[in-house]
Symmetry: D2
Subunit: 282 residues, 4 copies
């Protein structure tokens, strides 16, 4: 598995180039980035320049975010497709093979109707991404408070998300598997063993405070090893099924972190070292 960082948890790191350099300095092999910033970086430094930089830093782009707004009306969705194609084009030039989006567990729309619309829309996104050799990861979101935040329950667990992926019916769609959502679904090691590695597009790691699981807030995340999630089981499960991709830290907080990025990256490095060691990894 490749240790990775997202911007959530490292403060104001600046440009994607700075971000990649920081990640490299603290022993990370991947960062999550935005398609547009990749396009701009390529425009500025040239594809070869960016590739050389990343190779020198031994950092890959683990995943880009899905920039299309698929959660609301049709006009917004359509308006985002040219951008998605350009994101995918830029990402593919750098060898990126992952793009991810999250799925809120409730909705103000009629849930069945929205599921039908979202199925079609995400299939279109997957088709565009697939043309560039990029997989689409869907992140189910577990915290209980979000299941009732909007009027109608949507989906929030592995089983439903896999069934949804079956409905989307594109071979390049899989899970973004986040420790926080596994935990808030009270997932087990055995649940991970039921997955195959190729069903997992991307992984997020983080930790949760010691409060009742039904009270865990989505943006109250801790660094790996600081909380109560059994990350040893999490990482061992991923290891057991042969997952070899990126495990990227994602620490959502109610307020932006104000510490220097170096300090937060160092903290992240230590957090990864601790939980990976506990799981007998690297």
């Amino acid at each position: 598995m490749i240790k990775g960082l997202s911007r959530a948890g490292i403060g104001q790191v600046g440009s994607v180039e700075n971000f990649a350099a920081l990640a490299s300095r603290f022993g990370f092999g991947a960062i999550d980035a935005g398609g547009t910033e990749l396009e701009e970086w390529i425009a500025a430094a040239g594809r070869d320049g960016v590739q050389s930089f990343l190779q020198e830093k031994k950092v890959q782009i683990g995943s880009i975010g899905l920039s299309v707004e698929w959660r609301h009306d049709e006009d917004k969705f359509r308006a985002g497709l040219p951008r998605l194609a350009k994101d995918a084009q830029a990402a593919a030039e750098l060898g990126v093979t992952r793009c991810c989006t999250y799925v809120l567990p409730s909705t103000d729309y009629n849930a069945a109707h929205f599921m039908a619309l979202a199925t079609r829309r995400l299939r279109t996104c997957a088709d565009i991404l697939g043309a560039y050799g990029i997989r689409l990861g869907l992140e189910f979101v577990g915290p209980h408070h979000l299941r009732t935040r909007w009027a109608n329950p949507f989906i929030w667990d592995i089983r439903s998300t896999l069934d949804w992926i079956g409905a989307i019916d594109k071979s390049n769609v899989g899970l973004l598997f986040d420790a926080y959502h596994w935990y808030t679904n009270e997932g087990t090691y055995e649940d991970i063993l039921k997955l195959s590695a190729d069903q997992i597009v991307h992984v997020h790691i983080n930790d949760a405070p010691d409060v009742p699981v039904a009270e865990v807030l989505d943006n109250d995340r801790l660094y790996p090893g600081e909380g109560v999630i059994d990350l040893t089981a999490f990482l061992k499960g991923l290891q057991a099924i042969g997952y070899q991709g990126v495990v990227a830290q994602e620490i959502l907080r109610p307020q932006p972190l104000t510490q220097p990025s170096e300090e937060l990256a160092a903290k992240s490095q230590q957090a990864f070292a601790k939980v990976f060691a506990a799981a007998g990894l690297e």
Copy 2:
């Protein structure tokens, strides 16, 4: 448009052969049938025998019912697929090009999850039917009492059903458009004009009692022209968009009808004559 009968509204008519003969006698050009009874009929009389009979009677099989149980668990669904393939095979031998199923407007399952499962399952059904040149019609169900009959709202109107058809993403899927459900959705002539004929796989006709629309019961249907549905607008709308397929009567009642089938078929014939004439048809 071709006047058709389903078994709902003509009492105990017996075998499909009897049903076809009765329909013919009373001026109908189509009947809805079951795939299994068609297979058995072919087994007994030979494909040529059945075809000759239908040609002589000038009756076609307008649609078969979808025999697969797609609304519950995966085992039941799977168990029905061999039967579906045989239904489709038998139907195709008789030139049948339509297969239909209804969609209940609420569900005890999580509505979004069930939508995902149903999307995948109906795609599989559509794919099997498509191999035999058969289209799949989805019937949205409008009566208000069924929208809350089970715990979670599903879908019940044209727009949602078309969006679902987009999610299923097979070119041989369309609407079963039933006057009762159009009425209980307070559909208008203009709503029909927004459709294209090729979006409609099959049509049901019937009438509704003069009660508030939110109180109309699904199984309290009247013969065409006996109630308050504006069937003139309904038929004129279908005419305007160029629909040339079958319009089959479906009269669901709380109790089985006990009158002789001849009497009910004659009543149906007069009902069709009245509403078709009012719409300026044939």
Copy 3:
């Protein structure tokens, strides 16, 4: 049916705005255009401005061309997808619902492998177009000399193209049906009757010189009524199946036409008047 023009046959007409105005002046209700020129027009005149202009001129955009290069390598294909999304976006803003591409009847690639690649690529195009409510028309190309122009035979007739559309498996894909290719396939009125109107996305009209059908050259086209194609049967067939879309003139010539566009448009108007009248249309 709506009489339409493409740029092939009217000389150097200039901007799309001029083209629309010219078409209007000579009684045409539609023009074929490029997605990029529509985007530029909208950028210059505003969406409302363009819409008003077209409404005033009573001209619609019948179809845009598929700008993606799907016939060669994967890099070229990918590179065209952002442009396609923007084309579709611009087209949709003007209510355009058709996009077309032609299919050469032979290839230097292994024909089976190329068919597999082209199936996937055109599905992706169809998916992007479908997101904007646009259908994709595939134009089979009949002239015999092109069937052996490259090393391996591909496809060139209705049956194969419909089967290909089945392989692509998107409900928004259909035929661009061109009189020239129908003729060079020795198509008949009965062949048209076997189609349904919704299988036809767009129609081209033109005429062929009186040479043996196997010797007809693709770029030796005449104006409707000047040659030997039975355009009466062609138009009556389309009428019989209920086709109500655009019939656009496409006159491919070995050299650019040098006459003034007004002269050629007037000639086109008379050509249409003649063949439409012969078919009992408008």
Copy 4:
């Protein structure tokens, strides 16, 4: 990897039950079987009976053959779908997750048209199989003599077959990867490394005589280790990419083998032991 047997190479072994018992006796963990014989076995012994037998013998059913005739006309194809659904049902009851078919490298049909038809047909098969959790493996066929056996070249290598799988566009379709076809395509270890384990549905192993590669006959196969195929590279490649499925022996011969099945199974056991050991496996 699980050592497996097909019936090709073990003579007249009789019923599937006998076959499973024989495989078990000689240290194999899987056999390839037919869906119909599985259905009959279940009918005779009960699902639990068959499962117990297989568990006791430590033998799984590695793959069933695709019984549908997808290579010829539409009627034959359709006629096989009910059987396919029953095969899949029977296989799923025994936990079988693989179904395979081979692809001849030339065809008397127009290659592009046949590719389109075959794409649609195999998608339908994949959809039916997918409903039962079964993957479909496509076996490209490499021997040169078959590439020109019929009038038009089709496809015969990894790249084309993967592109075809992309055209079929179902996530449960992958390769049946056969050492003989890898060899006759002059495949390398590096070619295997380019694959991911989840692209491989099933593996065949065998060996080729020491004749020029262009002269290797499809039905002149030797037992593993008897010929010139670099099975060490083959197995190490599969190991390197993490393939953990069945590797089933398939020895096609011009004439049926007449030795006792025990003798041939013993020979097979020794052959596997030799090549697995050479590759550092088990």
